[in-house]
């Protein structure tokens, strides 16, 4: 079996060299197309053969040179899935280009480049060596730059240039990342790198830098949002079958697949990486959809939609990564994370199918009518029935309408995100909600496409439209059937052969926690961590337990996690709580949610006592009756990390939990007096009462001054209301006055400590806004000549 694997790359590569030669020998388009189609079918056959034993990882060492100097090709569950997807899409796209490319010249070059791109993509997916991935990435990339420019119109050349430059920057970054990884580990083989990283103690700073470079590089290849700028130009400019390949498989094979590999298998499951992926994925989801709504060019709309759907995949995979990182011994969380990964991979498959279908349909439309502009297309539904129905199917599938596969994959992603939100971190509700909203927006713009393109009377451009030749129809129809058939993947029998092995590969690699890290090496950096705002929460019972769990689950950054892991090393195992919390030190990108949570941390305990209104400052809670009085000294702050550790390690009992309120284990972040805000806001020290009294006074003076300033500003506004020579002047002044009142309500809220004023502020802001808009519209409608 392992002898077959290199054929996956060798066949298209051979085609890449043979076909231009054949193209020179024969002038016929269709004749040159035969060999590529045969080769692609061969690749498909091999891919299906590999799937016969889905759980088996096939390794092929090139040239017989094995480790440590050999280069390997590895086909495990994930690779097999992606290769299958690539093979299917490429066969159908080649079938489509049989007829479509008759409008272009040099078929030999086209098919040769296509085969090179195919070889590159498959090479990326089955390569077992990190530099080899770079090489194949470049092969696929160069072929795709040339293919995007294939029509050599000015638009296409420009798009290709832009794509090339951006992609080359990404490749340079990837190379630098490879250099960092090689520097740290001395290995280039995926599996070996993973091993070295795990046994060598987790991620160090150079590996973080490498991860950042990889995210930038592969994120650009995958077109996640900050790095998406090339896609809306490149994909529309390419010939339609190439757009289908680019959007359907290239960005996934080169981008998403490698990110998955890196995140799960190589760099080790890492919360930060996962969180970055979730954030970027969510951004892509939302921004891609929003930008797609306003597009007038069909293919550009589809390109933006690609960005959005890839965002779904990346967000789901990232969420799974975070979940797996957090789920050391929590079975439901692990299951939910695997579910998220499954959703992501399923959506990857689905999107390949329906996006390529949509691009092929757009190609058919462009061939039949000569235009891609939505406002010049209408009434094609009757003229081009096959294409029309395929377009409908594709649009419904991508919008997530049951029973097509797209519905299931989106549903799974949303449900998995919600489950992770419930189990791991409430912040996952945000991507879940945004995913739902984006699905609605997707439906909106695809409904618009369908209505405009297919409904109504035939426009001028559509007058001469006839159904496209048979080959193109066949490709469209097959893909449409696949859209429907992909829903079958949720059946256990199909799923267990196709997608589950991939999920297993990823989560097994991510599974057992890596060694508690490089805590020692990163300690100096860790000292500058986000200050731990802790205070004492002396509520007993349920509230405390809930809070403890909430805090422990949420606090993903710094000192806490690191410290606990050090304790974990000291305490000889069996420390469930420590094990549960041993995440990675969160350096670098920090999820916004954690920032928010950490920032609100001082108020979290108060949140849990939220039923008590009208308190100005948290009352000093009674000193917690800690058994045996091992209270740390009052000056135990973040800066004293080293001392903390030694104290903890030397007095393991000192952190013994009191009663049954805390978890087993020497945790307690809450036991330590935290940083600045924590002490104030949760003041429970003896001095706190006095402090609060003083603070109250300071606060009141300040607030008094603030109120006076606001009143002064209000008077200025009133002056303008009185004096304003024109009605718009007065409107402005009224608007400003409204905003000032919002500020005034804040001052009042701080003064009295009641959040009732904030309700007023928000309601007033809303009313003021509506009123101002109403006034402005009124102004617009009349004229005057003051």
């Amino acid at each position: 079996m392992d002898q077959v694997v290199p054929l996956l790359v060798a066949i298209p590569l051979a085609g890449g060299f043979l076909i231009p030669v054949i193209g020179r020998l024969t002038k016929s388009h269709r004749a040159t197309a035969i060999l590529p189609i045969l080769m692609a079918c061969g690749v498909l056959v091999i891919a299906v053969l590999l799937l016969a034993r889905p759980d088996e990882t096939v390794v092929y060492w090139m040239g017989g040179w094995t480790f440590p100097i050999g280069i390997s090709l590895v086909a495990d569950g994930l690779s097999k899935l992606v290769v299958l997807v690539i093979a299917v899409i490429s066969v159908l796209t080649l079938l489509f280009s049989l007829e479509y490319m008759t409008h272009y010249t040099s078929p030999g070059l086209y098919y040769g480049l296509f085969m090179l791109m195919l070889a590159g993509m498959i090479g990326v997916v089955i390569s077992g060596d990190i530099f080899n991935i770079f090489v194949f990435l470049e092969i696929a990339g160069i072929a795709s730059y040339a293919l995007v420019a294939y029509g050599t119109e000015s638009d296409e050349l420009e798009a290709s240039f832009k794509y090339l430059v951006l992609s080359a920057i990404a490749s340079a970054f990837i190379l630098v990342g490879v250099a960092f990884v090689y520097n740290v580990t001395g290995q280039l083989n995926w599996a070996k790198i993973a091993e070295v990283i795990r046994t060598g103690g987790g991620l160090t700073v150079p590996l973080y830098v490498a991860a950042a470079f990889f995210i930038m590089g592969f994120g650009l290849k995958a077109a996640v949002v900050p790095f998406h700028a090339w896609l809306p130009d490149a994909h529309p400019s390419a010939p339609a079958p190439i757009s289908a390949m680019l959007s359907g498989v290239l960005i996934k094979a080169c981008g998403v697949y490698v990110l998955c590999r890196l995140a799960f298998s190589v760099l080790g499951n890492h919360q930060t990486f996962g969180t970055v992926l979730v954030v970027l994925g969510t951004l892509s989801m939302v921004l891609g959809a929003l930008m797609a709504v306003g597009q007038g060019d069909l293919k550009r709309l589809l390109a933006y939609s690609s960005i959005s759907q890839v965002g779904y995949v990346v967000a789901a995979v990232g969420a799974g990564l975070v979940g797996l990182a957090l789920a050391k011994d929590s079975k439901p969380l692990a299951v939910a994370s695997e579910f998220a990964v499954f959703g992501g991979l399923f959506h990857l498959m689905n999107h390949a199918v329906f996006k390529s279908l949509l691009f092929l349909c757009s190609g058919s439309i462009e061939q039949a009518t000569g235009t891609r502009q939505l406002d010049r297309l209408s009434g094609l539904g009757r003229r081009m029935p096959v294409t029309g129905w395929s377009l409908r199917v594709g649009a419904l599938a991508i919008s997530g309408v049951p029973p097509f596969g797209g519905f299931w994959s989106k549903l799974i992603i949303i449900v998995a995100l919600a489950q992770l939100a419930a189990l791991a971190h409430w912040a996952f509700y945000i991507p879940a909600a945004l995913a739902v909203a984006t699905a609605v927006v997707t439906l909106v713009y695809y409904a618009k496409v369908q209505r405009l393109v297919l409904g109504g009377e035939p426009s001028d451009a559509a007058q001469g439209a006839r159904e496209v030749p048979a080959a193109m129809c066949v490709a469209s129809v097959v893909l449409a059937v696949l859209c429907l058939a992909s829903a079958l993947v949720i059946l256990p029998s199909v799923r267990s052969r196709l997608v589950d092995p991939a999920v297993r590969v990823l989560s097994a690699a991510a599974g057992p926690a890596a060694e508690p890290g490089i805590a020692a090496r990163s300690a100096p950096l860790a000292r500058r961590r986000w200050p731990r705002k802790k205070g004492r929460l002396h509520e007993t019972g349920l509230v405390h337990r809930v809070h403890v769990r909430l805090v422990a689950a949420l606090d993903v950054d710094a000192g806490r996690g690191r410290r606990l892991r050090r304790r974990g090393r000291g305490a000889a195992g069996g420390d469930a709580a420590v094990a549960h919390l041993s995440g990675r030190p969160a350096q670098g990108a920090r999820p916004a949610a954690c920032v928010l949570v950490s920032g609100l941390h001082p108020v979290l305990p108060v949140l849990l006592r939220a039923g008590e209104p009208g308190r100005r400052l948290p009352r000093a809670a009674p000193r917690h009756a800690h058994p045996a009085g091992h209270r740390e000294g009052p000056d135990r702050t973040d800066e004293r990390d080293g001392q903390d550790v030694s104290r903890e390690l030397h007095h393991p009992d000192a952190r013994h939990p009191d009663g049954g309120h805390r978890r087993a284990g020497p945790l307690h972040p809450l036991d330590q007096r935290g940083g600045r805000g924590g002490r104030r806001a949760l003041g429970s020290d003896r001095e706190a009462v006095r402090e609060t009294a003083e603070e109250g006074f300071r606060v009141t003076t300040f607030l008094l001054i603030g109120a006076v300033v606001l009143l002064l500003s209000a008077f200025l506004c009133l002056y303008r209301i009185g004096r304003g020579p024109t009605a718009p002047d007065r409107t402005v002044a009224i608007d400003i006055l409204g905003t000032l009142i919002v500020g005034f309500c804040c001052i009042m809220a701080l003064w009295t400590g009641q959040d009732f004023y904030m309700n007023i502020a928000i309601a007033w802001a809303l009313l003021s806004f509506i009123g101002t808009i109403a006034l402005a519209k009124y102004l617009e409608g009349r004229y005057y000549d003051e």
């Binding site: 300033v709 400003i736 701080l750 502020a761 802001a765």
Partner: protein, 133 residues
């Protein structure tokens, strides 16, 4: 620490509010006033709201403050835009020291920048004109 940060934020916010209102009074023209006052006061209010959130008296207050800040940030520029548009459409002239009127150039390529229109034809409104709608 939280408190100092809150005080700074609120203080700066108040300063912006004050300057915005001073601008409201002193600037010569509706368009100037809209721009200066709205921008300054929006920022000032957002800073005050954020200062309230940072101060952290209670979580509901903080969350509402953040929500309020987001809301103000989103809606206030929209309102200002609507006012400016309303003012232009209803014919308020630019200050005579104005040097350009891009919006007017787009709509009426021949109009001079200080907003002076052609002498009104009979029956035509003095303002920017119905035909713009």
């Amino acid at each position: 620490m939280n408190e100092i940060a809150a005080q700074i934020l609120i203080g700066v916010g108040l300063a912006f509010d004050l300057f915005g209102c001073i601008g409201l009074v002193r600037l010569p023209d509706v368009y100037n006033r809209v721009q200066a006052a709205t921008k300054c006061v929006t920022l000032g209010t957002c800073l005050i709201l954020l200062g309230t959130a940072v101060y952290g008296v209670s979580a509901p207050m903080g969350i509402k403050a953040v929500l309020g800040a987001v809301f103000v940030l989103l809606t206030s520029p929209v309102a200002a835009h609507a006012i400016a548009r309303g003012a232009y459409k209803s014919g308020v002239r630019l200050w005579e020291g104005s040097v350009m009127d891009r919006y007017g150039e787009e709509k009426h390529p021949s109009r001079p920048p200080d907003g002076r229109t052609e002498p009104a034809q009979a029956g035509e409104p003095l303002g920017a004109g119905r035909e713009l709608r």
